[in-house]
């Protein structure tokens, strides 16, 4: 949201793949090594990875930092296989090198004086919140996670997430684990109960879920942040392709922001959440 250019923050890195492991249905954890990146990365930021051995795939593929070990230099992303790029990235071998452009984008800023941090994640939207929860583990505020997935085998790292949170609500579309239905349901109930005075909501996931969270924040006058996943050709503000529309508040001179540079994290009352 600022105009200042912290362009020295990003680097083109050649990173060695340390490990690759399946963690859920169609979903893999890819770990690569970079001491520098592990020092720099902040929760909410992402890495743009070149797809190896696929000559006709043009763009890099963006993935949120999922876990960072600041001491060992291990950087982990969570990859869901949805097309050819993600598929190829889940076939790499340890020892291989990946071209990574990172760290990119802005990050979550959590004020220390809140009472409750409410995180609403759908599917792979969980990816950045593992890292975030690790980073804020020592903070005194309550952490509540609402985590929805298609079915039981789609959840990632629930036990670890459970130990990082004060309260965890799971939902599945098919009812195979947790409550059946949308993750919005437990969130609605939670917000209807009297609770912490200073709540902050964070969300990432499918468009419709984020729209519903946006509406609830409006209804309950809650501050919140949303992390968007627009298509990106460059990931660092060069192509202007990843435009996000701002909500017209009458005074806004800038109708569009860039998801990769001004975001991917935006105040939830500032942007139009769209396909």
């Amino acid at each position: 949201m600022t105009d200042n250019c912290d362009s020295h923050a990003k680097h083109l890195l050649n990173c060695r793949v340390e490990s690759l492991a399946q963690v859920a249905f169609n979903t893999y954890r890819l770990t690569f090594a970079s001491n520098w990146l592990a020092e720099q990365a902040q929760p909410g930021q992402f890495v743009n990875i070149a797809v190896p051995r696929c000559g006709d795939i043009l763009w890099r593929r963006p993935f949120s930092f999922h876990q960072i070990d600041r001491h060992s230099g291990a950087c982990t992303v969570l990859i869901q296989v949805i097309g050819r790029g993600s598929e190829a990235l889940t076939r790499v071998q340890p020892g291989e090198h990946l071209s990574c452009l990172a760290p990119l984008g802005n990050h979550f800023v959590i004020p220390a004086e809140i009472d409750e941090l409410l995180i609403v994640a759908g599917g792979l939207g969980i990816a950045p919140f593992f890292f975030l929860l690790q980073e804020v583990a020592a903070q005194p505020y309550k952490k509540v996670l609402f985590y929805g997935a298609a079915s039981a085998d789609c959840f990632c790292r629930v036990d670890e997430l459970s130990s990082l949170t004060s309260q965890l609500f799971l939902t599945t579309d098919d009812g195979s684990r947790g409550e059946q239905g949308l993750v919005i349901k437990p969130l609605q109930r939670f917000l209807a109960e009297p609770g912490g005075k200073r709540r902050l909501v964070l969300t990432c996931g499918p468009t419709r879920m984020m729209q519903a969270v946006q509406n609830l924040c409006k209804k309950y006058h809650l501050p919140g942040y949303v992390s968007v996943e627009n298509l990106m050709a460059c990931g660092f503000g060069a192509c202007m392709g990843c435009a996000v529309q701002m909500i017209d508040k009458g005074l806004s001179a800038k109708p569009f922001l860039l998801a990769c540079k001004d975001g991917p994290v935006f105040p939830i009352d500032e942007i139009v959440i769209d396909e």
Partner: protein
Amino acid sequence: MNKVAIRIGDVAFANPIMVASGTFGYAQEFDGLLDFSQIGAIVTKTVTLEPRTGNPPPRIWETAAGMLNSIGLPNVGVEEFIAKKMPFLRNLATRIVVNVAGKTGDDYVRIVERLQQVDGIDAYELNFSCPNVKQGGMSFSADAQIAERVTADVRKKSQRPLIVKLTPNVTSIADIGKAVEQGGADAVSAINTLVGMAVDVKSRRPRLSTITGGLSGPAIKPIALAKVYELCRKLTIPVVAIGGIMNLQDALEFFVVGATAVQIGTANFINPACAAEIAQGLHGYCRAQNLNLQELIGSLRVEK
């Protein structure tokens, strides 16, 4: 000795590798990712008289070995460009080519007149061809007479070299090229993007908010080569080649068909250091082959 230096008008460029308009911003985003002094020139994102917000999303779509865009020339307008972007640009150890576009011929004249008062600019590239601005560019790029007249009008006000950027979306690119040469252009650059389209069958919607957009990337290289070849045969002024260049080999092909310089576009998104690497590669190639770039340019062998 510098084997790869070139000239456009009366301006010398240390090497012929430039970065294409709209793919390098105003260079700030690339700070730290490459050594600007290694590239021959930076062509800025298009600057217009008034600020433009650009098209609504979605603005981009990936295609086989390419991409579609309909960014819509968002930019801060010429005054803020001068105030906010030029201070960074003029300090870089490379040539600065400012790409300008207008709704009318008069817009081009007014922008260039204004930029004439500003130092740190080495040349202008007139964008007669962006397919994403509705009433914009189209007539200039498709009508030889208008193209010639606007070039001549700008020529009168400009003390700097003029490069006119041509669209491939016309019946004869060489006719337009001839016309702008007649109008006083010092060089032409080609090609801008090709009009293309993608559709989502599930929603039955176009992938871009503007329905059609501009195709770029490796997918268009063969077309760009053919257009550049045609221009090189019919024009006497230098041709700056653009279209799908990803590596040194691609760049060399354009020199062989006759290009004096090349611009790297979409490749900057994937490898931000691409242009610097190609420039380094070209130095190495000329040294290894013991030839001057001038000997390579137009060295295509065809049976008569």
